[in-house]
Symmetry: D2
Subunit: 359 residues, 4 copies
């Protein structure tokens, strides 16, 4: 009897359930009745506390199209190895290892983004058999062409920009749409391109507010009364980018805005004639059904994970490399972030069709 | 030759183009080649400045599904009659009347909400032949069962809540979704009901933050770790509701939040254990294609307007009364706002299925 | 302890689960722990065979947005009273009555369309306490302004026509979209209007193929190379409409087409130059999530049903009358079909904007 | 002054306008005022007859999200080189060449699928400067990872299967959804995977009706009362696959079904107990707005095409190779079809999660 644990960790996104289903259906296909799948509750937290549930095949029925995760999720429980919980004095890593052994798992499948991957790699170093599936709307996992959740989130953010377009045009207004992404701008870049944004601000390209104003005024001069800015949560001004991390933190501590977009709104309002409005769709972008692309992707990743378990090929992320599913050693990728490559096709295409990055 | 002017005024919404098309197709059907349709630019502003354009039948092709307005729009130009523009010393009403006469119009069709209607009635009193079509996502126009734009906006706001649901459930979080509506809560009420919100805050029902906390804690106690609040832009606390208008204005002057939802977030965060997150979809709710309901509604209203022009039945809003299109005299309805009736089916149903209004 | 049975019967549609949830949440609110809800399996079939299940409050969680029905459904089990099953010699009505009594039900809530309503009325005549909720994408239930499922289906069928529009325009083709509705044309009428169809064929208005050809040729002459026909499943030619039911049945017996639209395709292809294509979305129109309109509607109907159970107000359909929920006596409405009223606003508006009904 | 002609050819799909916009915006960016873009009407037909129009920058505004093609399209005008039109005795290739010269074009950009590509290559051989952008919902263009239109069509077909799912489950029915694709099954494969189909029939894998029946019966036995088949238009039985092309043509000549799915319906109905229903969404799958994926893809392809024109890098398709835009010589790819690779990840994943291909 094979015993496989599965958990979802970190911020949820579209396609988690579809990926869980892929792993499960793949395992039942490989092992028939000779496999037990144990759903671990609320991410690594459940592995620490030992909360899990033996799943039945029917638990995975009908979840292909469901948003969220049937297993629940929680944030990363630690940022450093062997972190001892302050209150309970529990060694979290030790607890996870013990519970893995107590559950007699042959493998632990973890679905998550960068933080999850890092933790998974740590568990691998502790001797656990781990397989990681790269999940995040941010598309910032190193070593895979794409993560699941990303294209679903792009569709939603694009739809928001589409709707904003009609009202921006009718009123001749400037609209700032905040797109998710604190460190990495893939989502903003893709949604901005797909939604026809005029200006795109990414964490990777510090902006100059004067350049933005110039673009807006040039558009107005050419008769285009409205403009749309797609702005990543993590957008940063050139001035701020020159600060040290500590200085930046301090500078933002008294930041009187719940988001950078409100500051940009205020700054632009002071210099342009048009009204400047803000739209903050927030977590809306990571919810709802996965798009077809993500359902196919997660099914492929899940089935490949099942096969890797059969082949005892552990310690890997199941990535998409050159368009094909492939095992990617966790030790090679854990801890690396895939920032927007400033020379990538999307950046080049955006510049070529006249989109400004405020730089 | 009949000459009909048409303009769209106030905040844009879904269905404006579809309504314009309905009026135009209806007019061409009634009068054949014996009608000229003059599109007036950017709402009443174009009537003041005399900016208009003779439309061709092909201008109305393919616009049924388009968001926004092909005529452009602007805010209400005056709140009182005969307001004299401060800078130019122009009497706006006089200008509109003169341009109406200069254009030799037989009728002016105005598409807009409450403010638009009030202005339309004023023009009627000045002797102009006016017909009004009730447009607004707020559904707050008196004298009609429903306004166009409303159901399209409900679909969007509901979709936002749906998506938020999956992430709220997965993480066990509290989410506050800000729904449009400064004075009137129909949109929040419908989207809250349709999206399965647990708490709905409307401008018409001042909320008690303690009652909200109680509801959240009761839900948590019963094992429901997440909660969703659908909150109208114009939500107001009981304390604020007790203030005079002037006092309220002053109290909010130094309001350090771009929206009430951020204050509620802060207040709840202080007393509940779960994370509290905010989603502000904003103008997203009024953009994009009209839903099928609004396309049928606007086509009916437009066709009815054309018929009323044929019959020289002026001075009316084309409303839906008892489910049927009907002329509603502007003098009877102008200036009245349709607030949420606290005894309406939707409020009753919401309370019956356990939704709290924070009261 | 109150004991309430609930079943869904006939063709499924959007909003069934939302309505079930409304009834359940309403009952739990009215009666607290003093109510048992018994879910009866697969419609009346489950009442005949006595298959049911005591539901828990959690069974109704998360189903607001789900298509289909958690209770399962089946076709009407009989068309006449006291029909004796041929094989088993079972008196179906007697079985239902006995099971109702065996389950000690205080009330049976049935969700369904016309056939379901007729059966519900029969059970009422047998002395059972029955409440009916009007469900059908056909909108053909007498005594209510609207049925749930209708507006969701209109959205889907409209979306199909929208998509067909772009390909029709690009290629200059004629497209026939088959819309559901064998006897009644509301769905085709609304979707045709909302989708901007050029020709709408309804069961209520027999068509003349020559009139259709004339319209198509007139459009071509005026430079419009494409045309879209929204055709109800039950569309019928003038020749066929002149036949007796028996003659029609015989004539269609050897009908070499799976649907009327293929015959129209063949007939038109013979006389027009453009290519004529067919689109048969079929049951696609009754699946998927309910639209926001239907969610609000079903919640209102469900909550009203719960209240009527509290008040022992049985023997009614919960209808929407003049825009408000109201009890409608089953004996007054059972067996009546709400055909498209040829003088209704939608027909008038369609004709006024130049849509042909082929008559 | 650079002069660039642009045309869209073959069946339309999502993303054509977005691609046209990408090319145009890229060209205006590269050449500023020193470029003229000539829109050629209705595909190659317009090049034969010399119908074209000088486009303005504003012609490309607002078309990013529009389905269809603003240039119109037509089927391939010839299947062999130098085909002489039978009626007019016109040498079509000669006409195209002459019109290209008459228009003084520096380059001709053609958007289309396989047939279009073949014709483009022929024009290249005739000495014209040609660039091809790979468009088709079939994803069957050799030499590129993906074609635009494909992922948009996958989303639509998946949505259809999703909706069918709810009604299939509620009724315990078998549903056959016909997905576009006469020769190649990529669209059916992806939509089948994404929609959770139980059986997928592709042109590349001839089916055995008995195997399908076995699968359906095995599902029924295991308690799954419903099943969904995603069937490509070009699905073919093993018996038919054994025939010569000529024999097959003859066999299908008297085919009494408008589509293979109706035959499968009849065959299955004879052997299984459940009702078997058919859904034929047809051209619905190629219409409507492009999904975000296709908008980004087309923008990249368009911008790359503009750059290739700048660099006089002609005679290529702009493909996606290894995830990046790249010129692909037409002479190497023209005439080749990218069938579903039976060893690809998607086929493997499908088999691994228990999907049957009827083989």
């Amino acid at each position: 009897m094979k015993r496989v644990g599965i958990l979802t960790s970190g911020g949820d996104c579209q396609g988690l359930n579809s990926a869980i289903r892929g792993v499960a259906k793949g395992l039942y296909h490989e092992f028939g009745d000779n496999v037990e799948i144990h759903g671990i509750k609320d991410g690594y937290r459940g592995l620490i506390t030992g909360e899990s549930k033996l799943m039945k095949p029917s638990d995975f029925s009908g979840i292909l199209t469901e948003g969220g995760t049937i297993l629940g999720t929680s944030r990363q429980p630690f940022k450093l190895m062997r972190v001892i919980d302050e209150e309970s004095n529990v060694d979290k890593v030790k607890s996870m290892k013990e519970n893995y052994q107590k559950m007699k798992l042959d493998c632990l499948v973890v679905l998550g983004g960068n933080g999850t991957q890092k933790s998974a790699n740590m568990l691998r170093e502790e001797g656990l058999n781990v397989i990681h599936l790269p999940k995040t709307i941010d598309n910032d996992v190193w070593g895979t062409d794409v993560t699941f959740g990303f294209h679903s989130a792009v569709e939603i953010a694009t739809n928001v920009i589409d709707c904003i377009h009609t009202t921006a045009t009718s009123h001749g207004r400037i609209f700032i749409v905040e797109v998710m992404g604190h460190k990495v701008g893939w989502l903003t870049l893709f949604a901005g391109l797909a939604g026809g944004a005029d200006i795109i601000l990414l964490p990777e390209i510090p902006y100059d507010i004067n350049k933005i104003t110039q673009t807006l005024k040039a558009r107005e001069k050419s008769g285009k009364k409205f403009s749309i800015l797609a702005v990543a949560e993590g957008a940063i001004s050139k001035e701020e980018a020159a600060l040290t991390k500590k200085e930046l933190k301090k500078a933002r501590e008294n930041f009187p805005y719940p988001s950078i977009v409100y500051r940009i709104q205020k700054e632009l309002s002071a210099v342009v004639e048009n009204e400047v409005r803000v739209c903050v769709p927030g977590h809306f972008q990571r919810g709802g059904d996965p798009c077809a692309f993500d359902r196919v992707l997660t099914t492929k990743l899940g089935a490949a994970a099942a096969k890797m378990i059969k082949e005892k090929n552990f310690g890997n992320m199941v990535g998409i490399v050159g368009g094909k599913t492939a095992p990617v050693p966790l030790e090679e990728v854990a801890g690396k972030l895939k920032y927007v490559d400033l020379g990538c096709d999307e950046i080049k295409a955006a510049r070529q069709i006249g989109i400004s990055f405020g730089d």
